[in-house]
């Protein structure tokens, strides 16, 4: 079985400024990779490259069997992204936003209602997103990210705006559909203990380079803490 993510010597530069250098790793289907590192270490850049939104400067990237950026169109629609931005139009309601994305992704409209229920937004689904609290926006964004049941889910600090109860509530959605296989996930995190608990693989980035890459079981929270020194 081909791995979901294969990076080999991945580098990305903005002009002269390199933000990622020589990142090499493999993630198999169903695994969760948690990326640690201080701000500016290149975590978000890595996610944007995997999301096909950013071209790699050097190295090869294969996601879901497609080489980026040339075959990005094959992988699109099979990847979900939950970033710092909710990617929702503020003046449209949650339902309208989801309908728009459902049309783009050819998703059955019935799934919208099901998801609105699952994230606990059914009651406010027709209010514009601009009237939501930050937690509600994040829940709507989760619904958007998993709307098309992506095989690969990219999560940029997904719990930043959520209280523990909401986190627990959304966890099943992020982990995988009921009855289906677990999703392959890449999660960025600043929380060593919590991050390691859900990780199969841990990646530590520092200054755009791989400082650490190992099965989560072999890594201690203290080693993650070292990255932030």
């Amino acid at each position: 079985m081909t791995p979901v993510i294969e990076l080999s010597g991945l580098g990305r530069a903005y002009g002269d400024r390199a933000v990622l250098r020589g990142v090499t790793l493999t993630v198999a289907a169903g695994q969760t990779l948690v990326v640690f590192g201080p701000n500016g270490a290149g975590k978000s850049t890595l996610l944007r490259i995997l999301a096909t939104l950013l071209r790699p400067t050097t190295g090869t990237v294969r996601v879901l069997g497609s080489t980026l950026p040339g075959e990005a169109w094959k992988a699109r629609g099979r990847i979900g992204l939950l970033g710092h931005e909710p990617l929702l139009y503020r003046e449209l309601s949650a339902r309208q936003n989801l309908r728009y994305h459902a049309r783009l992704h050819q998703v059955d409209p019935a799934r919208i209602e099901q998801l609105l229920d699952a994230v606990g937004l059914a009651r406010r689904a027709d209010d514009p997103v601009s009237t939501y609290s930050r937690g509600m926006v994040q829940r709507a964004a989760v619904a958007r990210a998993v709307l098309h049941d992506p095989e690969l889910l990219l999560l940029d600090e997904p719990r930043a705006n959520l209280d523990p109860a909401a986190t627990e509530h959304l966890e099943p959605l992020l982990r995988g559909e009921r009855g289906g296989p677990p999703r392959t996930r890449v999660i960025t995190s600043h929380d060593p203990a919590g991050g390691l608990a859900e990780a199969d693989l841990a990646l530590g980035l520092k200054g755009g380079r791989t400082a650490l890459f190992a099965p989560a079981g072999d890594v201690t929270a203290a080693e993650i803490g070292e990255l932030y020194r």
Partner: protein
């Protein structure tokens, strides 16, 4: 290492241009209606033609850039457009002087070539500010290429539209293609065009090799001071390699 052949090219340019102007002043006869002042024609028209070609060439380089995504093509497109803009300023100034001498006005709205030229110049005048307003270098290069392609296609279309709008207003004083010129005038004119083209190529090569050398030096400096020393990028309209 970047400026190979530049010396020969510069000398050839200089000789051709001096030759052209020697012919203009000492050999070509004065034009019957306008007299001596018509001789600005040998500067103005070649400059205009070369400037327009420079814009179109910049557009072609931009197509190459979008296809290959090599920064060098963006640099080539930038330099070509840059020098064409300078020549365009020269064209507008000499055209204005000519208009003043020939018809008594500094500016004539019913001279379609001049008017089209002003429009094209105003469009390209936004090229550098647009580049400067985009901070990310890669995005800047891509957007500049899209601009260069659209503007390059705009040049001929704009000329057609302006000319159509001014039919039957003003008799064309001179046929700018040179086709209707008497023999000695035509020869001088052709040499002037060759000289101006060489001048464009020389300036283009000079500017290109300066930019290439500069970015080579800065990358060498970076290597010397250690790879981890990230350079602080100044905001700039010019492409980096």
């Amino acid at each position: 290492m970047y400026g190979k052949g530049l010396r020969t090219l510069s000398v050839a340019t200089l000789i051709t241009l001096i030759g052209a102007f020697a012919l203009v002043f000492f050999w070509t006869p004065n034009e019957a209606d306008q007299g001596f002042v018509q001789k600005i024609f040998y500067l103005h028209v070649p400059m205009a033609i070369v400037a327009l070609c420079g814009f179109v060439v910049g557009g072609i380089f931009a197509i190459q850039h979008l296809r290959t995504r090599e920064p060098i093509w963006d640099l080539r497109s930038y330099v070509a457009i840059h020098i064409a803009i300078i020549l365009a300023v020269g064209t507008l100034i000499t055209g204005s002087i000519w208009a003043r001498a020939a018809w008594g006005h500094w500016w004539l709205w019913d001279e379609p070539t001049l008017v089209s030229f002003l429009i094209v110049f105003l469009l390209y005048a936004t090229y550098t500010p647009m580049r400067f307003a985009i901070e990310d270098r890669e995005r800047q290069a891509r957007y500049a290429s899209v601009f260069a392609i659209v503007a390059g296609a705009f040049v001929p279309l704009n000329f057609a539209a302006v000319r159509a709008s001014q039919e039957n207003t003003h008799p064309r004083v001179l046929n700018t293609t040179g086709g209707a010129l008497p023999g000695d005038m035509r020869l001088t004119f052709l040499i002037a065009i060759v000289g101006m083209t060489l001048l464009f190529i020389t300036l283009y090569r000079f500017e290109l090799s300066t930019k290439q050398t500069r970015s080579h030096i800065s990358s060498l400096k970076r290597k010397l001071s250690g790879d981890d020393d990230l350079p602080v990028l100044r905001r700039s309209a010019a492409p980096t390699l």
